[in-house]
C-alpha cells in the first residue's frame, strides 16, 4: 500500500507539529508514508469564494499529483471535503472521482481503516475541552468527535460545541468585525469550561481561535487530536 500525506496549506505553514504527529502515528501503525513535495493548495479558498474554474485547475493538479498512491491522508476535514465532494462536483472525471475515493481525513482513517479505538489512545492529564468545526460536517459528526474524546478523564463539554469560530476562510477577510464578534463568543464558551487545553482538528479554526486567545490574554492552548494520540503512544513529548 502506497500512502501519501496531503498536509494542507495551513497545517504546513502554521502547525508543523500536527504533520510530525501524523507521520509518526501512521508509521507506528505500519503505515509508511510518502510526502509528494509538489503538492499545493487543494483549491478550497477559491471554491468557497465562487472561483470554480480556478478551483478546478487545482483539483486537476491534485488528482495528477496523487494518482500513484493507494491512500491519501490529510489532517483537515475541510480539505478532505473539498477533495472528496466538491472536486468531483467541479470536474466529472474518473481520476478526480478516484482521488475522492482514496482520500481520508486522518481520524476517520484511523478509526475505520485501521480499526483503532480512540478511547484508548486519547487521554490527557488536565481538564480538556474541544471545538467541532463547521467544515467537518461532511466528514465526521459531532457525535463522532465526542465518541473519540470520551476516554478523556476530565472532558469539559462546552455549551454549543459546534459554535462557529468565525473564521470561514475569506469571510474573515471580507467581514473582520463580524468574524471578530463570533470569535469572542467562541472563546467565551471555551474559556467558560475552565479547561486550558482545547482539541481542535481544523487548522483554520485553530489559527483563528489561538490568535484570538493570545490577543485576549486567555490561557487556552490548542492541539489536534492526532497530537494527543502521538503523545499517548510515546511518539512525541507533550512539549516537543
Amino acid at each position: 500500500m502506497r500512502t501519501a500525506i496531503f498536509i494542507t496549506c495551513l497545517t504546513d505553514t502554521f502547525f508543523p507539529r500536527v504533520g510530525t504527529a501524523l507521520v509518526r502515528v501512521l508509521r507506528h501503525f505500519d503505515c509508511p508514508v510518502t510526502f509528494p513535495e509538489k503538492q499545493t493548495c487543494c483549491g478550497q479558498p477559491a471554491y468557497n469564494s465562487g472561483f470554480h474554474d480556478e478551483a478546478a485547475c487545482l483539483v486537476r493538479r491534485m488528482a495528477d499529483l496523487f494518482a500513484n498512491f493507494d491512500r491519501v491522508i490529510t489532517p483537515s476535514a475541510s480539505c478532505a471535503t473539498l477533495v472528496k465532494q466538491h472536486g468531483p462536483a467541479l470536474l466529472d472525471e474518473p481520476r478526480v472521482r478516484d482521488l475522492a475515493d482514496r482520500t481520508y481525513e486522518v481520524c476517520t482513517f484511523l478509526e475505520h481503516e485501521l480499526d483503532l479505538d480512540f478511547t484508548e489512545l486519547v487521554h490527557t492529564h488536565e481538564p480538556t475541552t474541544y471545538h467541532y468545526p463547521c467544515h467537518a460536517r461532511e466528514t465526521y459528526t459531532l457525535a463522532d468527535l465526542q465518541r473519540w474524546l470520551s476516554g478523556i478523564r476530565d472532558l469539559r463539554h462546552p455549551p454549543r460545541p459546534d459554535l462557529c469560530c468565525g473564521f470561514g476562510g475569506v469571510f474573515a477577510v471580507d467581514f473582520p468585525e463580524l468574524s471578530g464578534n463570533m470569535l469572542t463568543d467562541k472563546l467565551q464558551v471555551l474559556a467558560g469550561t475552565g479547561a486550558e487545553l482545547v482539541i481542535s482538528n481544523e487548522a483554520a479554526c485553530t489559527l483563528q481561535m489561538a490568535g484570538g486567545a493570545r490577543r485576549a490574554n486567555l490561557p487556552l492552548r490548542f492541539k489536534h487530536m492526532i497530537e494527543i494520540v502521538a503523545e499517548n503512544l510515546g511518539l512525541m513529548g507533550a512539549d516537543e
Binding site: 470554480h52 471580507d174 467581514f175 468585525e177 463580524l178 471578530g180
Partner: protein
C-alpha cells in the same frame, strides 16, 4: 462587494444593541429549530423528499405555471406574469388604480420587498400599511427589515417603544403585550377602511390553483378576506405540483425558519369569494414574478431557487 456594505456591516457589528438583540434572537431560533427537528421522525428523509419535489417542480416549471394558471382562472382568479420588478409594480399599480383604492394592507412578503412595491404604490397615491407586527414597526420607524423571517431582529424593545409612541401618539410603554395591543387597535381601523389586500405566497399549488400563506398573527387572513381586492405577488419558484406535496414542505418550513412545528395560521386560498362565501375578496389577482429567476434557473446557481422555494412568502 461594495465598500458601502463593508462599512454598514462594521457599524452594525460595533453596535452593542444590535449585537445583543441578534444574539438573543439567534440562539432562541437555533435552539427551537434543533428541538423541533429532534422531535420530527424521519427528518432527513423528509428533507430529501422535499428536495426531490423542488427539483422536479423547477425542472418542469413552465408546465406547472400553465396548470396553476388554468386552474386559478377556472376558479375566477386573474393571473398575470411579470418579467421584471418594474413590470410587477406596474401590474399591481394598474390593479389598484382600477379598483380606485387609496388604502391597502399588506401581509409580510419578501417578494414585495424585492420589487419595492410600497414605493411604487405610494407614487400612485396608494398608502400601503404593513400588518405583520415586525414589518409594521419597521415601517413606522422608517427602517428596512433586517432579516427575512424576523424583520426587527436588530431592534430592542426600547427602540420599538419609542417608534410606537412617536408615530402613533400612544402612551410610552415597553411592555410587549401592551405594544402589541396598541398596534392591533391601530390596525383594526386600517383593516376596516382599506380596499386592497397585498400578500406574497409561501406556495402555489398547481393542480388546484391554490395559494398557501403562512402567518403567525392572523393578519394574513384579515388581509385576504376583508378588502375587496386581493393581489398576491408570487415568485415563480413557489409552485408545488400537488396538494399532497404541501404536507411534506409544511413539516419542514416552520421548523427550519422559526422552530415551530407549524405556523399559527396556514391559509389556503382558491379563487375569489364565491356567491355563497360569507367573506373574501371580489377580485383575486395573482402576479407571478420572474425578475431574474429564469436566468438563475438555467445558470450554475439554480440551487439558490430550491432554497428560496421553501422560504418566506
Amino acid at each position: 462587494m461594495t465598500a458601502g456594505l463593508r462599512k454598514r456591516v462594521a457599524a452594525a457589528a460595533a453596535d452593542r444593541t444590535v449585537v445583543d438583540a441578534v444574539h438573543l434572537a439567534t440562539w432562541r431560533k437555533v435552539d427551537a429549530r434543533a428541538a423541533s427537528f429532534a422531535a420530527l421522525p424521519h427528518a432527513g428523509k423528509l428533507r430529501d423528499h422535499a428536495d426531490q419535489i423542488r427539483r422536479h417542480t423547477l425542472a418542469h416549471l413552465p408546465h406547472y405555471l400553465r396548470q396553476f394558471t388554468d386552474q386559478a382562472r377556472n376558479r375566477g382568479a386573474h393571473v398575470h406574469f411579470a418579467a421584471t420588478a418594474a413590470d410587477a409594480c406596474e401590474l399591481a399599480t394598474d390593479i389598484a388604480t382600477h379598483a380606485a383604492t387609496t388604502l391597502a394592507v399588506k401581509a409580510k412578503s419578501m417578494t414585495t420587498e424585492e420589487i419595492e412595491l410600497n414605493t411604487a404604490l405610494a407614487a400612485a397615491g396608494v398608502r400601503v400599511v404593513e400588518t405583520d407586527l415586525g414589518e409594521f414597526i419597521v415601517q413606522l420607524d422608517h427602517d428596512k427589515p433586517s432579516h427575512i423571517i424576523t424583520p426587527i431582529i436588530h431592534k430592542n424593545r426600547r427602540q420599538v417603544a419609542r417608534a410606537m409612541a412617536r408615530e402613533l401618539g400612544t402612551p410610552y410603554t415597553e411592555d410587549p403585550d401592551t405594544l402589541a395591543q396598541q398596534a392591533r387597535s391601530y390596525l383594526r381601523q386600517i383593516f376596516h377602511d382599506c380596499d386592497l389586500g397585498i400578500t406574497g405566497a409561501n406556495f402555489a399549488i398547481a393542480e388546484s390553483g391554490t395559494l398557501v400563506l403562512l402567518t403567525n398573527e392572523g393578519n394574513g387572513r384579515m388581509t385576504t378576506t376583508r378588502p375587496r381586492v386581493h393581489i398576491a405577488l408570487v415568485g415563480i419558484e413557489k409552485l408545488l405540483p400537488r396538494l399532497s406535496d404541501l404536507g411534506v414542505l409544511l413539516k419542514l418550513l416552520a421548523r427550519s425558519s422559526t422552530g415551530q412545528p407549524l405556523g399559527s395560521y396556514t391559509t389556503l386560498i382558491t379563487g375569489p369569494r364565491r356567491p355563497d362565501d360569507r367573506d373574501g375578496p371580489d377580485e383575486l389577482h395573482v402576479i407571478f414574478v420572474d425578475n431574474g429567476r429564469s436566468d438563475i434557473l438555467t445558470g450554475p446557481h439554480a440551487d439558490v431557487l430550491r432554497a428560496s422555494a421553501a422560504g418566506p412568502a
